[in-house]
């Protein structure tokens, strides 16, 4: 079996004549933390949407563990163990924080269609849910409605929900954006912890987070791969500095 858990070849997406992603060959090594960076509008989120099949690719193929998933449905991708978070916070606003996490935890039980079964059958998941909330610093909000959380906390909740599925591959779209330092640190260490035995592909603009976490970095610009390598390699690439990092990071 190949070393790469995700491989794309010639991945392309155009919207009415505008090509957002253009022939991207991405290879994500099993067990790695792989960062996708690039200027705004480079096509990072679109890549995520393509890989998780929230968008249909215009061209190209996507392999997951060597298997072609180009024609699969998004929910099935998640079931294969590849779960994403969203760039703009996506919670279930009128469910409680605890329930938000539990919705993710309950999927592997396989009882999701059991309309005849009592929901107390889900109570067994509460401990695990609380543990996850604790890890992102939301334990004290467990009973609150997700809608009433501040923006940063919604992001944390979303991460907890994603991790709850215990996926093999996590795709995190700007996990720390909108967070305070303290939370960033907490989230960074959480990502580090969950990364054990998992593969993470993340989009992130916070370079200190990127440099701290990632094993490998792909830089996208205008829908194409501009550079790839370790943080050091990438950050010393003048093209990347020019297009993305700016003089402050050279």
């Amino acid at each position: 079996m190949s070393d790469y858990i995700i491989e794309t070849s010639g991945l392309t997406k155009s919207f009415k004549g505008f090509t957002a992603v253009n022939g991207v060959d991405l290879r994500i090594r099993r067990g790695a933390i792989h960062a996708l960076i690039g200027p705004n509008g480079a096509g990072k989120t679109t890549c995520f949407n393509l890989i998780t099949k929230f968008l249909e690719p215009s061209e190209g193929r996507i392999l997951y563990k060597g298997e072609d998933i180009t024609r699969m449905k998004p929910a099935d991708i998640a079931r294969l163990g590849m779960v994403r978070s969203f760039q703009i916070s996506a919670t279930f606003p009128h469910l409680t924080v605890l329930e938000n996490v539990r919705v993710a935890l309950q999927r592997p039980l396989g009882t999701a269609f059991f309309f005849w079964r009592s929901e107390t059958s889900l109570d067994g998941l509460n401990d695990r849910a609380m543990q996850l909330l604790d890890e992102v610093g939301l334990a004290e909000f467990a009973g609150a409605q997700a809608a009433s959380l501040s923006y940063g906390r919604k992001r944390a909740l979303e991460l907890a929900t994603t991790v709850a599925l215990d996926p093999e591959v996590l795709l995190l779209d700007e996990p720390t954006s909108g967070m305070g330092r303290e939370d960033i640190e907490r989230i960074t260490s959480l990502i580090k912890r969950v990364a054990v035995n998992r593969t993470i592909l993340m989009v992130e603009h916070n370079l200190s987070v990127v440099s701290e976490l990632s094993d490998r970095i792909t830089v996208l610009a205008r829908g194409q791969i501009l550079a790839e390598g370790s943080y050091l390699e990438v950050s010393s690439n003048p093209e990347v500095v020019d297009a993305y990092m700016g003089s402050g990071h050279a």
């Binding site: 998780t52 929230f54 449905k73 998004p74 929910a75 099935d76 998640a78 079931r79 779960v83 994403r84 978070s85 969203f86 996506a90 919670t91 279930f92 606003p93 009128h94 469910l95 409680t96 329930e99 938000n100 539990r102 919705v103 993710a104 309950q106 999927r107 039980l109 009882t111 999701a112 269609f113 059991f114 309309f115 005849w116 079964r117 009592s118 929901e119 107390t120 059958s121 889900l122 929900t161 599925l165």
Partner: protein
């Protein structure tokens, strides 16, 4: 997008044993009241309330918990009543089989309509269901067996299981109450089930639910079909009670009425639809002697309701209790 002010008063999981007990007691008290009700109130009125309330409950399952506004639920309600009526009158089927065939019909219709409608969201979903219901209306209007505006008349009330004589109104009441309680428990369990949890999550944020690995359309379809089947159960039962099946029950106004009942009682609350149905049926039947003012009084009630008690009767009471706590 606007924030949806859907009340989740009855939707949150019962936390802790105390809460569970108090609500169990509440249900038992209500059941006891229902058992003695025919001594006080006219049984046929009660039976009608139960039938329509069951219809409203079915509708509420879809909107209150699935976030799907169907504007064509009359096709299941009225459709089942035609089928049941025909089966019992022309084919001479026994009551329980007649009701069953009505439910089967509406469930199958629910699958077909659901497969078509479920692909659209929000107002478009409502409009597709409306369109389908109008087509079903047209078909029933054109089919000879429905008797046009005369309807199917004189549907017999045959003894249930061959020995429970429902010609007697009080007996009939208990039979219908049994059906209603069955329907109610069914819905209650559905809402408070693992399925119900996912359904609520989908209502809240469908993309997110998909990304967690849920095939959201399948959940919505199942909710739609369950709701259609229960609406059919309500319609089939109503035929047995009133012994007629008419076009009125398949019109869009009927679809609209169930929306009103649910709102008046309290959207997304467990008891809301029941209370709403009771209020509207009471208005229709008891205010009928106010002559031409029935509808105006109804209108004034709606306006006041929306302006002052938006959460619906049950929703407002629940909010009041919460505040007192």
């Amino acid at each position: 997008m606007k924030r949806t002010d859907i009340n989740t008063a009855g939707g949150s999981p019962a936390q802790g044993p105390g809460r569970f007990n108090s609500s169990t007691i509440l249900y038992l008290v209500l059941l006891a009241l229902a058992l003695v009700a025919p001594a006080v109130l006219y049984p046929i009125f009660l039976v009608k309330v139960l039938c329509v309330a069951l219809f409203a409950l079915a509708f509420n399952l879809l909107i209150g918990y699935g976030g799907l506004l169907s504007f064509g639920h009359a096709m299941f309600f009225g459709g089942a009543s035609y089928i049941t009526g025909h089966a019992m009158l022309v084919w001479g089927w026994p009551t329980e089989l007649g009701i069953l065939v009505g439910v089967v019909f509406s469930t199958l219709l629910g699958v077909v309509a659901g497969l078509i409608a479920i692909r659209r969201q929000g107002i478009y979903f409502a409009m597709v269901t409306l369109a389908l219901a109008q087509m079903v209306y047209f078909i029933f209007l054109q089919m000879p067996f429905t008797g046009g505006e005369d309807g199917i008349q004189n549907v017999p009330r045959r003894a249930v299981f061959g020995f429970i004589d429902i010609a007697n109104d009080t007996t009939l009441y208990y039979v219908v109450l049994t059906i209603f309680v069955f329907g109610f428990l069914f819905i209650y369990r559905t809402i408070h089930s693992p399925f119900g949890q996912v359904l609520k999550a989908i209502r809240e944020n469908e993309d997110r639910a998909t990304s967690l690995g849920y095939h959201t359309t399948r959940f919505k379809l199942l909710a739609f079909v369950l709701s259609a089947g229960l609406a059919g159960l309500a319609g089939a039962t109503k035929v047995v009670v009133f012994q007629i099946a008419t076009l009125t029950d398949v019109t869009w106004q009927m679809s609209g009425e169930v929306v009103l009942m649910t709102l008046v009682g309290g959207l997304g609350t467990v008891f809301g639809p029941v209370v709403g149905a009771a209020i509207i049926i009471t208005m229709q039947d008891y205010l009928a002697t106010f002559g031409e003012w029935v509808l105006v009084i109804q209108g004034v009630t709606f306006v006041i309701m929306v302006s002052l008690f938006r959460r619906g009767v049950v929703g407002e009471i629940a909010a009041l209790i919460n505040r007192v706590r």
